[in-house]
Amino acid sequence: MTTATAGTALAEALRERFPNAVQEADAHAAWIEPSAIADVCLFLRDDPAHDYKMLSSLTAVDYVEHFEVVYRLTSLSRNATALLKARARGRESPSLPSVSGVWRGADLQEREVWDLMGVAFEGRPNLKRILTWEGFQGHPLRRDYLEPPLPYSWPHGG
């Protein structure tokens, strides 16, 4: 059975190497300081005691006062998962360091988060819209997104 690593255990393991990286932790997840997220991920990937070679998924949740980007890590060799979270502040231009250099699999997912949630990722090329088209206004998965009025109206009748 897959071991779901507790956030507190992860925080404990990270404390020595990254003293200030973990903001808080509970039984499920560890909240990582946004500026340290890429370094922490690289460490968790390469350290044999963790060996998280796969980024299972990367997504974001809009909590209105901040965005929470969720990193779900899987270690195939240890059959373990870990959950990292990082908060991005501000609604104008929230951003986090990119982890697409750590896991290739983050590439399309970061583009999706940028497209739908409007959280930018720094230090990566080709951050452009993926599911909507270039020129689309706004980020539709945000809680305060309003659909713009149609530029045309249907003819009466029918």
Binding site: K53, S57, T59, V61, R104, L131, L141
Partner: protein, 368 residues
């Protein structure tokens, strides 16, 4: 005199029979060789995740049918498992067995489509192989019709079990399907596995190493074809996968032929699982009693399952209301496109089409 070639950009799709729905690729050619490739997706984006935020938990089940529309059962299963984790209920044993039987039938149906279209895209057999695959799939769809009245968009699984018990006529149909299918699989294998055309065009084409596949978040048959024996049914058994025995077929090469081969072997393992479920299933209720409209406690849940195309999971965040606060779909097909460029560069257009077939992604799931 030397011949000079200009790079030529060729646009394939989005409306093209070999692009699995509405998928567009921008290929740059130097002569006949691909030197750059870019996937362009989003033509089937329906905002499923946004729609889910405005619906009750039970209503979202019908949205999941439309994600990977050739494998609705496993979409349902992934969603209801996450919901059950969120609410904290357990379905009765018979419900779990019916779920596994339905999900494995769906895996066979999905792999038949994958294999059939792969052979179709090779251009060999003039569609015979595809029609063979569809003939068997038709029997599975008939069985789904018995279970829930629908053939494609099923919504058979419910939070806390399944919609209803299987009717009496379901079991003889399943029995005869289990008797016939291995023979059909042999027939298909004899038709194509040793075919010179298939071997020449698929072996060694667009290989992916195990390291690259893991780093690119590949899951499912395309990961196992690269030699990584990773299967969520083994790693974290859900429903009754811990009660049945099966193997996880793998290959070494990670090329188009291996991806195709792994799918054919998985069909046989699925039949094995269904056989064991039929032997173990006992009478009883199929669905836990619970309210249609409920408010899960605030929190979040994610249960990964092994869908036919790989790891599928719904990340549900509850704020204590009747609708999910956030519903993210971790779709395997979307990740399959990560290495698109790396896989195609250096090959020719005909190989690109075959590679799309061997990846077996589904645009309903890619675009969501």
């Amino acid at each position: 005199m030397t011949l000079r070639t200009e790079p030529v950009v060729v646009n394939v799709g989005p409306h093209h029979p070999s692009t699995h729905g509405v998928f567009r690729m921008k290929l740059t050619f130097d002569g006949e060789n691909i030197i750059d490739a870019e996937p362009v997706i989003g033509y089937l984006h329906r905002g499923t995740e946004k729609l889910a935020e405005e619906r009750q938990y039970t209503q979202v089940i019908t949205l999941t049918d439309r994600l990977d529309y050739v494998s609705s059962m496993t979409n349902n299963q992934a969603y209801v498992l996450s919901c059950e984790r969120l609410v904290g209920i357990e379905p009765p044993a018979r419900g779990k067995y019916l779920r596994v039987i339905a999900a494995e039938l769906q895996r066979v149906a999905s792999h038949l489509i994958g294999v059939g279209f792969f052979l179709q895209e090779l251009g060999v057999f003039g569609g015979t192989a595809l029609m063979y695959a569809f003939r068997e799939r038709e029997r599975i769809l008939d069985m789904f019709e018995m279970l829930c009245g629908a053939r494609i968009t099923l919504s058979y699984m419910r939070i806390g079990g399944v919609l209803q018990d299987a009717p009496e006529e379901f079991w003889p149909s399943l029995r005869s399907f289990l008797d016939d299918m291995p023979g059909y699989a042999d027939e298909m294998q004899a038709l194509v596995f040793e075919s010179e055309i298939v071997r020449a065009r698929a072996i060694g084409v667009a290989p992916v190493s195990a390291e690259d596949a893991v780093a690119a978040s590949f899951t499912g048959p395309i990961l196992r074809a690269s030699g990584v024996a990773w299967d969520w049914r083994k790693a974290a058994p859900y429903d009754v996968y811990d009660q049945v025995e099966f193997e996880v077929p793998t290959c070494e090469g990670g090329d188009n032929y291996d991806r195709f081969w792994v799918r054919m072997q998985e069909v046989r393992q699925s039949l094995r699982i269904i056989e064991q479920c039929c032997a173990q299933i006992e009478p009883g209720p199929v669905r836990a009693t619970m309210a249609m409209l409920f408010r899960p406690p605030p929190g979040e849940a994610y249960v990964p399952i092994e869908a036919p195309k790989g790891e599928l999971g719904f990340y549900l965040v509850s704020d204590g209301s009747i609708a999910p606060y956030r519903c993210h779909v971790r779709s395997p097909s979307f990740m399959s496109l990560t290495l698109f460029r790396e896989m195609l560069v250096g090959w020719k257009l005909a190989d690109a089409i075959v590679t799309l077939g061997s990846l077996d992604f589904n645009m309903g799931e890619v675009d969501r």
